[in-house]
């Protein structure tokens, strides 16, 4: 299997085990229902899980209309963020299964935007797709020119986690591609050898500025820590800052734009020599008041910062052509 194919497979098949508890204020049956266990696709969204979860709790619900929302440790979860991203962001020490609480009443409209179930998620997806197209192509004509049924099919493939269907539909989308000479190689062969493929649009050798759609989620903790398990539990969304900032880089021959480069461009205040890769904690002992990137998670894994950014983009992006990066920093609360 080609490397990018394998990676994409893992990305699309990735799913987090969730243990969903009904909020005790909403338990209207005795005994209280046991928590529901579901596998939530990483590239999916929480609202899409409701049909799976609701059957567990419907008998226990008090009378009234449902307005469903989730919380982790009391923190209401933003439903338009892919489930995998939420997990990577909010759980420093990966909690498997991830214990969430489901609510059917009392939607916190001051914190969460309204959600109408699948339709909201779909809208969100298409919107994001348009944003991405704008960033990549400079316009979102390709999305708008796509037929309604094709859009539906695209969304359905994402909902169902059907990579094959998605791959078949991609040509219709005509989204510009990121050149990535690393994606198709199995061995360390010449970086210039490219396999023919329909997806590459550019003429060989042309210098191009790539613009990558990125959503960056930065959680800052005030105290330094040695182990992830020492990271305090998330309290509010105030701890998290969200950036929707594209990464631009020049495709230069001989030069490789790495992840590190990308992070520096995104979070210049946290970059520098002090930036650390995952797994290696330099027990420097000195704690700078200047922010320090402790953790960079993409698709649930920590990457070596030397990894070519283009590979990351091509293999680890979400179906809406956005790359979601969760970062844990030590720094002042914003």
């Amino acid at each position: 299997m080609a490397a990018n194919e394998e990676a994409m497979k893992y990305v699309w098949e990735g799913a987090i085990p969730l243990q969903i508890h009904l909020h005790k204020s909403e338990v209207a049956s005795h005994p209280a229902p046991p928590p529901a266990l579901v596998l939530a696709p990483r590239i999916g969204y929480l609202p899409l899980l409701v049909p799976l979860i609701k059957p567990y709790f419907k008998d226990s619900l008090p009378p009234g209309e449902d307005s469903i929302w989730f919380d982790y440790k009391g923190v209401p979860l933003k439903w338009y963020i892919p489930t995998g991203v939420l997990f990577d962001l909010l759980c420093a020490e990966s909690e498997r299964p991830w214990n969430l609480t489901i609510h059917f009443r009392g939607y916190p409209s001051n914190v969460l935007i309204p959600c109408e179930g699948e339709d909201s998620a779909k809208w969100n997806f298409v919107n994001s797709l348009k944003e991405a197209a704008y960033i990549i192509n400079g316009n979102c004509k390709n999305v708008m020119n796509m037929s309604q049924s094709d859009q539906e099919d695209l969304w359905t493939s994402v909902m169902n986690g059907d990579l094959d269907a998605y791959t078949r539909l991609l040509p219709k989308l005509k989204m510009g591609n990121i050149e990535d000479e690393f994606s198709r190689k199995e061995s360390l062969s010449s970086p210039v050898s490219r396999q023919g493929g329909g997806t590459e649009i550019d003429v060989a050798g042309q210098v191009k500025t790539a613009r990558i759609p990125v959503r960056l989620y930065v959680r800052s903790v005030s105290q330094n820590f040695e182990n992830l398990e020492d990271v305090p539990e998330i309290d509010t969304w105030d701890e998290i800052s969200y950036m929707n900032r594209p990464v631009e880089f020049l495709k230069e021959k001989g030069k490789c734009f790495t992840l590190r480069d990308a992070m520096e461009s995104l979070l210049p205040e946290y970059s520098g020599d002090r930036a650390q890769t995952s797994g290696e904690e330099e027990a420097d002992g000195s704690q700078e008041t200047r922010g320090e990137i402790k953790l960079v998670r993409i698709q649930g894994i920590e990457l070596k910062l030397e990894i070519p950014f283009s590979w990351v983009v091509n293999n680890l992006m979400n179906p809406e052509f956005y790359l979601h990066i969760s970062v844990l920093v030590i720094g002042p609360q914003r």
């Binding site: 990305v11 990735g14 799913a15 085990p17 266990l37 579901v38 596998l39 498997r96 001989g254 293999n315």
Partner: protein, 513 residues
Amino acid sequence: GTCFRSQEEKAMEAIKDALRALRKRHLLEEGAHGPAISALSKPMISQGSEWKEKTEKLEIELQQCYKAQSRLSALLVIEVAESRTSKASLQDKELLINDLEKDLSQTREECTRLQEELEEKTKTLDLLITENKEVRSQLEEMTNRAQKAESENKMLIDRWMLQKMQDAERLNEANALYEEMLAKLKANGLENLARQQVDGIVRRNEDGTDHFVESTIPSTCGHRIHAHEGGCGSILFQYNSRTLFTGGQAGPVKMWDTNSGSLIKSLNGSLGNILDLAITHDNKSLIAASSSNNLFVWDVNSGRVRHTLTGHTDKVCAVDVSKFSSRHVVSAAYDRTIKLWDLQKGYCTNTVLFTSNCNAICLSIDGLTVFSGHMDGNLRLWDIQTGKLLSEVAGHSSAITSVSLSRNGNMILTSGRDNVHNVFDTRTLEICGTLRASGNRLASNWSRSCISPDDEYVAAGSADGTVHVWSISKGSIVSTLKEQTSPILCCSWSGIGKPLASADKNGYVCTWT
């Protein structure tokens, strides 16, 4: 250069590392938890879809139930309304039932009462039926008794009649003996009797010769005399004279001169209705038969009653006197007897009994035979001495009303209610002539007809007041005399040939010449 290559090597390392991390992650996350969760959730999911199906089914059922419910609600509303009306009507019916029950009990009482009445009535009826039966049987008894009594009565009457006849016979015998004894004393009388007995030929009276006058056919009315009030039943001419005697309903017998039409004298002393007149051959004595059961005998000259002959027990309707002796009178009365009287003695010398009443009577020329005409239409001949029936001939189909002898004594005229006038030969008793007329109807049981003195003509009156005159020899009408308007009761022809006189019910007498 090498920097690039080492960069590239680093890159490749990083990529491999990333892949390894993905694999690890897979193992930790979906790889580890996936199968268990899917195993757990399958039933839930499938249940979920099952539940979904069930829910859908139940929803459909519920909808149907709602529909059914609404239908049933509508029906229920109707039923409730109907139920209300039913309750209301039920109440009404209950009230009605109460009323009907009252009526019924009343009616029952009434019925028992009527039944009792009926029983009573039936009992009464039974009683009445038995009583009726008894009465009927009593009636039968009575009827039987009455019948028996009637037949006994008849038998007694017959016996009594027989007794009477026997008594009469005895009386006659006694009279005969007495007569014989007296006769023996008289020498003259015996010669005459012997002579008459031998040949029976009528000899003319030695005292005088009768004038043989030809009678004229009467056609015109001479006089119309109102002789009597209430009807004139009997008229008679004196022998060979125009003097006419008339007798009526009441009052005296009158004597008229038919020439002048004036009254000569009245003969008083009679009672009742004069039904017949007879005069002796010497015109000296006039005898009248009366409805007062008596006969009166006048002396014409003096006009006084010489005898009143009693003995009949009913009205005397016919009388005749012997031309020969002038002392023997025969009378017939409605007591079914003919009596023979002797004027010299003044009493009845013989009585003849019969069953059918006699209406007219006439003696033969020799005075020995009595001719009687009866209600049964028979002409009977009796021997005057013995009182025995000599012969009997059926003359008419109805009652005989008149018996008249011809002048020569050979013919006898009978008239009957059958409106037939028969002329019999007195010797043979054969009919030698029958006279009828279409308008001739006899008015009463004592309508008297007469023969003309020349024995040629018969005159008879009719109920319409007409007098018919026939010729005996021709047998046809020779004259019809119309003057009177009420029924003719009696006709008499003068011995000198004219006039003919007729008397009617109003008491008028007409003379015809």
